[in-house]
């Protein structure tokens, strides 16, 4: 755990590292950020990345020549919504052949603590945190504590173990609960559960309707999972709720 103590981001919570959420939006495909999600994320620092993917046969320069004004207007609209919710969001616009590469590059450049994979959502209150293996408990706690600080929603820390006798996920969930309390979240808003599952992605997707948003670690990086972790992408595709992927700390 890091010893340095950063000034709190909002209110008087003991937030170690003010969370910075990167929100990639396919702006020219009419994707947007639901208003309730804007309100939910507004306590965190936010960067809106409007991107447009063009096929390889189209130079990005050519796409920007034609669509730049539209893309920037769409991104500015989203930033305006954040502004109404009390958060001045930074905006970026990118034209790319490779969405993942662009999101990863921008996330690295701004030092994002989490990336939003948007999905339609109604009101945002209840948070599901599926826990498997190790992840950055501090970052996750900073993020969850920040966005839940002024609301009334609850967070469910859900430990998913491959076998009944493995305790790693449960220990992680307990640690996360403690850390959340340290960060100032009332303990009656934190619930801890534990389940033994074979197919965690399936299980998380199936349970997603009970919650408004999923917050999870990006999982171990392998060559196959690539940037956001295959798993988070798969969950975002299947789930009815948006997914916030907490990034691991850059190794420096």
């Amino acid at each position: 755990m890091s010893d340095e103590v950063l000034p709190p981001a909002e209110g008087d919570l003991s937030i170690r590292e003010p969370p910075l959420v990167l929100i990639p939006v396919a702006v020219l495909e009419s994707q947007t950020v639901p208003e309730s999600l804007v309100d939910f994320l507004a306590p965190a620092n936010v960067v809106v990345l409007g991107y447009h993917v063009v096929p390889e046969q189209t130079p990005t320069e050519q796409a920007s020549m034609q669509f730049e004004a539209r893309a920037q207007a769409a991104v500015d609209d989203i930033a305006q919504n954040f502004s109404v919710a009390g958060r001045e969001a930074d905006t970026r616009v990118a034209f790319t052949h490779d969405r993942d590469k662009t999101i990863e590059r921008v996330a690295d450049e701004i030092g994002a603590t989490a990336i939003l994979l948007p999905n339609p959502v109604g009101g945002v209150d209840d948070v599901l945190v599926p826990i498997r293996g190790t992840f950055d408990v501090d970052r996750l706690a900073d993020l969850v504590a920040t966005v839940l600080a002024d609301g009334s929603g609850a967070v469910t820390l859900w430990a998913l173990s491959p076998e009944a006798d493995s305790t790693e996920a449960r220990q992680q969930a307990d640690r996360a609960a403690e850390t959340l309390v340290d960060r100032g979240l009332a303990s009656d808003r934190i619930r801890t559960e534990s389940t033994v599952v074979d197919a965690p992605v399936r299980a998380i997707v199936d349970r997603s309707p009970e919650f408004d948003i999923i917050v999870m670690g990006e999982g171990e990086q392998t060559i196959l999972t690539g940037l956001l972790g295959d798993r988070a992408e798969r969950i975002a595709e299947g789930a009815v709720a948006p997914v916030l992927v907490v990034r691991g700390r850059e190794t420096d």
């Binding site: 447009h52 390889e56 189209t58 034609q66 990118a94 790319t96 921008v106």
Partner: protein, 476 residues
């Protein structure tokens, strides 16, 4: 509208050059546009090499060995070597210019910025045509291979009408694929080129060992220069089409990662790779057959070489490789054409609607149509050697002028000129490069030269009528 006051910097439609992104505002991963958007660079070194190698390899091995050996005998290997040296002399200056101006448009962009709008317009429109001729040439090559495969599996096909029909059908298919396809074509191209290279190295190694007598076969059946030294040079002019790919790497310069490193390596590396393979191919082919026989085999001569080594199985393998190679060449050329059209229309040298993109597919449909349409007309003519030479002619003009552009840039460097790669002894290399490029033209057939000159004159007329007022020299 038609009479403009002086130096409005606009064409007769009132359009002015559009500055989308300043190439000096680029880092390894992206360029920042004037409007503050980020233009991601997503093509890596392998992608760049595969554009270069993939474009070039189609012609030199799978179309030319028969034609070239027929004209120069075993000295055709020398013709390919001459071509490689000239290509390298041009690739070096092109690399420097590309690292200084990593923008879509390649040669046209460098020349218009170094020498001005008129030379830029002549080269830009000519290279559009040059790529159209090259694509048509690759497609006819494809038609030959497709027809040969049909014949090989026993379908009763004969005559050039079948070849042309197959080439036409495939030309339409490729254009449509680029118009509507959003799949990752570049990754596919990488695999195609990888498979091809593997196949060729195995084939050429076997053939090479065979030629030097390891397997007890006959030695080279004739003298190196059966027709004297002159055909070696005229043939070099013909086969130079096989080296037209390295400059295509520069047309994607705006999308390539770490351009300061990857552009020079991709351009120079791809010339070296294919040059070596070409020389080896001719050596192997002329060792297996005498040049008269090779010449009679025509465009698919290398298939007969494969058959002589490994029977029908070898013939089929080479046929399949040839099919893939001509496809990758034609496809890469259509894409380069579309980028050349974009670069011209961005600078208002042709109407700006040519760079329109449709939002649904995200593809530059006007530019692609301006590539695919004329290609089909030329394919219908089916004149392989003329197509190849006109393509070479127009490319050689651009190559020569790129060398001149380098000298012009270096002698009066603008403040923004800061290439990551600098050509050593540039007046010498660029000077010889320009001279060699222009002198290859002298060795071409009169018909090809006349068509080439006519196209260039037409571009001058177009410029004078449409875009006389555009200023591009030194403007980024």
């Amino acid at each position: 509208m038609s009479s403009q006051p002086e130096h409005q910097n606009s064409n007769v439609s009132g359009e002015t050059p559009t500055q989308v992104a300043d190439p000096t505002q680029a880092n390894e991963e992206m360029t920042v546009s004037e409007g503050g958007s980020e233009l991601e660079r997503s093509i890596g070194l392998v992608g760049g090499l595969s554009i270069g190698v993939g474009t070039m390899i189609g012609a030199g091995i799978f179309v030319f060995p028969g034609l070239a050996a027929g004209e120069a005998g075993p000295a055709a290997a020398g013709s390919f070597a001459i071509g490689a040296v000239i290509a390298l002399l041009v690739a070096l200056p092109a690399s420097e210019l590309a690292t200084a101006m990593p923008k879509s448009g390649g040669g046209y962009y460098f020349i218009s910025r170094a020498l001005g709008a008129l030379p830029g317009a002549v080269v830009g429109i000519s290279i559009w045509m040059g790529l159209v001729f090259a694509t048509a040439f690759y497609l006819v090559g494809f038609g030959n291979y497709a027809a040969a495969i049909l014949a090989e599996v026993g379908l009763p096909v004969a005559g050039s009408s079948v070849v042309v029909s197959l080439a036409l059908v495939f030309g339409v298919l490729l254009t449509a694929l680029n118009l509507f396809g959003t799949e990752n074509a570049a990754a596919l191209q990488n695999y195609v080129v990888g498979v091809l290279l593997t196949l060729l190295v195995v084939f050429l190694s076997y053939g090479g060992l065979n030629a030097v007598g390891v397997f007890g076969a006959q030695t080279t059946p004739e003298t190196f220069l059966p027709f004297g030294p002159m055909p070696m040079f005229t043939t070099a002019a013909l086969v130079f089409t096989s080296y037209l790919g390295f400059a295509q790497v520069a047309t994607v310069a705006g999308d390539i990662q770490n351009p300061g490193r990857n552009l020079p390596i991709a351009m120079i590396g791809s010339v070296l790779i294919v040059g070596l393979l070409y020389v080896a191919t001719i050596f192997v082919a002329t060792s297996a057959f005498d040049s008269l026989t090779l010449s009679r085999f025509g465009e698919t001569a290398i298939v007969e070489v494969g058959r002589s080594f490994l029977g029908d199985w070898g013939a089929l393998a080479i046929l399949a490789a040839g099919l893939l190679a001509t496809v990758s060449s034609a496809n890469a050329s259509i894409l380069s054409t579309s980028r050349a059209v974009f670069a011209l229309s961005k600078d208002a040298l042709i109407p700006q609607f040519a760079s329109r993109i449709n939002l649904r597919y995200g593809t530059p449909h006007v530019a692609l149509a301006m590539a695919g349409g004329p290609v089909l007309v030329l394919v219908a003519l089916g004149e392989v050697e003329v197509l190849a030479e006109v393509a070479s002619f127009l490319h050689l003009i651009m190559y020569g002028l790129m060398c001149v552009a380098l000298i012009a840039m270096r002698r009066n460097e603008p403040a923004w000129y800061d290439p990551d790669f600098r050509v050593p002894a540039y007046p010498l290399i660029a000077g010889i490069g320009a001279l060699a490029s222009f002198s290859l033209i002298v060795f071409m057939q009169p018909l090809s030269r006349r068509i080439g000159v006519a196209i260039m004159l037409a571009t001058v007329v177009w410029y004078k009528l449409y875009a006389d007022d555009i200023q591009l020299k030194g403007v980024l």
